[in-house]
């Protein structure tokens, strides 16, 4: 595995997808029906390590995930062979374009595919379970019968690529909770 660098997505979070039961569950809006993931089951502060890949979460007044609205994510140049993403789709299983740019020049286009968070099995073959929750928050309170899943997916560039910008599509049914770049060198 290469060196992993989590991206701080804080400047881009725009959706409340994590709430606390009986505290603020009514403000969750990861689905249009008002569902959200349980706060205490996500290691917001400590982050999460999956198969050796560290992920960093964000939690602010603006939200805790990026609901895809065509955002342009700009950062210091990185060199990566893979990009790891934690996310979900809602009200369906969605894929969409994701573009990578270096100095304003398009260097790679890929397909970001995220399974619906209420599915029990990955709809897209590259998706794996990152976290499965013991319950789900809804507008009217927690529901123990529902066990949503936060999915992990990796886009493999097949060789190292340097870039400083990611362009997301406008698709509000897709949500990104964390992004980590993996370099090509061994560590």
């Amino acid at each position: 595995m290469g060196q992993c660098t989590p991206l701080d997505i804080t400047p881009y979070v725009n959706n409340r997808g994590v709430t606390q039961a009986d505290v603020d569950h009514q403000i969750g809006f990861i689905t249009t029906g008002g569902c959200s993931l349980p706060f205490e089951e996500i290691p917001i502060e400590a982050g999460l390590i999956i198969e050796g890949v560290p992920f960093q979460f964000s939690y602010t007044d603006e939200g805790d995930n990026i609901e895809l609205e065509g955002q342009i994510l700009r950062f210091s140049p990185v060199t990566a062979r893979k990009i790891h993403i934690l996310g979900v789709s809602t009200n369906g299983n969605f894929f969409d374009r994701i573009q990578f740019l270096s100095e304003e020049r398009l260097i790679h286009t890929d397909r970001l595919a995220l399974t619906n968070f209420i599915e029990r099995e990955p709809f897209f073959p590259k998706n794996r379970v990152a976290l499965q929750f013991t319950y789900m928050n809804t507008r009217v309170g927690p529901r123990n019968s529902l066990h949503p899943i936060l999915w992990h997916t990796a886009l493999d560039f097949e060789k190292e690529r340097s870039f400083d910008t990611i362009i997301l599509e406008d698709n509000p049914s897709m949500h990104i909770f964390a992004i980590t770049f993996e370099g090509g060198g061994d560590h």
């Binding site: 369906g92 969605f94 894929f95």
Partner: protein, 322 residues
């Protein structure tokens, strides 16, 4: 008939779920039946008709027919239902969810729905509601209420459907059938009706529907938000059904061994679904004007993808059809 379980498939509406469950029980994979991906729109003033379908779902299932019957009263339907039910044959009926005691919307909301009647049992009916995943008895009186309400509140004629399968003629679709399906879908999108295809009404077909749809959405999203909510729900369901039709068309081609053709169809399905969800989001969260350009941009991508689908399938047919 062995133990019945609910058929789960997020790409099918409640009526199609029941038919799919029956087909699957007969050993016919439902992917063979859902293959229509056309587009038809008819402006009916305050209302509209928007559908991707133009034939019965048994269009290329040789030896299988979906029989449909309508009745003037629920008593007549129940009489016929009792005569049709056998250990090998179940029946689909149209009901109003408002009168289904197990349903989330019981006594709250009127909406047409389809359930499968499995058998008669102790004066009740054993039913399977595949959509709401409910398998249990429904009393005869509750069924009658749900049938009556279907006609009274959903304004639809009381009806039932069942599958007729001829063991002798039964044959799965072959490549020639798949090519016929592809030709029909392309023709529908290009606004042409091939020989044997029945017109759906006086509306329009194919690509040009998308421009009319955008015009309709423009009007809808400019209305007072409270007033627009109900028709937005209906439009959302229509757009979702179109996305299902593309997903199912892709699954059909994959099952027919034509996986190399499905990428633009999948993309088209995704774009329709994304547009549907944007509309739903506007309905729930408001800000209709803000969502309008986003929906339109997505529908422009729909147009692009639908053209790619027809182009790619057209190329395949031109080469293979020689």
């Amino acid at each position: 008939m062995g133990e019945v379980t609910a058929y789960i498939d997020s790409n099918k509406n409640c009526f199609h779920l029941v038919l799919a469950a029956i087909l699957k029980r007969k050993g016919i994979h439902p992917d063979y039946a859902w293959n229509q991906a056309g587009l038809y729109y008819e402006d009916l003033g305050d209302e509209w008709k928007l559908t991707p379908y133009f034939e019965s779902v048994d269009n290329c299932l040789h030896g299988v027919q979906v029989r449909s019957e309508s009745f003037s009263t629920s008593d007549h339907l129940i009489e016929r239902l009792d005569a049709l039910l056998t250990p090998e044959r179940t029946v689909v009926v149209g009901v109003d969810i408002y009168e289904l005691p197990y349903c989330l919307y019981y006594q709250e909301k009127h909406a047409p729905h389809s359930i499968e009647i499995l058998r008669r049992e102790d004066g009740n009916y054993q039913i399977c509601d595949h959509f709401f995943q409910f398998i249990d008895p429904l009393s005869r009186s509750d069924l009658k209420k749900a049938l009556d309400s279907y006609e009274q509140h959903c304004l639809l004629k009381t009806n039932l459907h069942y599958l007729q399968l001829s063991e002798r003629e039964w044959k799965l679709p072959d490549l020639a059938d798949a090519m016929t399906v592809m030709k029909k879908n392309c023709a529908m999108m290009e606004g042409v009706l091939l020989e044997g295809m029945e017109p759906l009404g006086s509306g329009i077909y194919g690509f040009q529907v998308i421009d009319h749809l955008m015009h309709r959405l423009d009007t809808m999203l400019s209305m007072e938000e409270v007033v627009a909510k109900e028709i937005m729900e209906e439009m959302y369901c229509n757009l979702k059904e179109i996305s299902h039709s593309r997903d199912n068309y892709g699954a059909f081609l994959k099952r027919m061994g034509l996986e190399e053709l499905i990428s633009p169809i999948e993309e088209a399905g995704q774009c329709w679904k994304a547009a549907a969800n944007m509309l739903l989001r506007a309905k729930v969260a408001g800000n209709h004007e803000g969502m309008k350009p986003r929906i339109f941009k997505r529908l422009e991508r729909v147009k692009e993808q639908e053209r790619l689908v027809v182009e790619q399938i057209g190329n395949y047919l031109a080469v293979t059809g020689k």
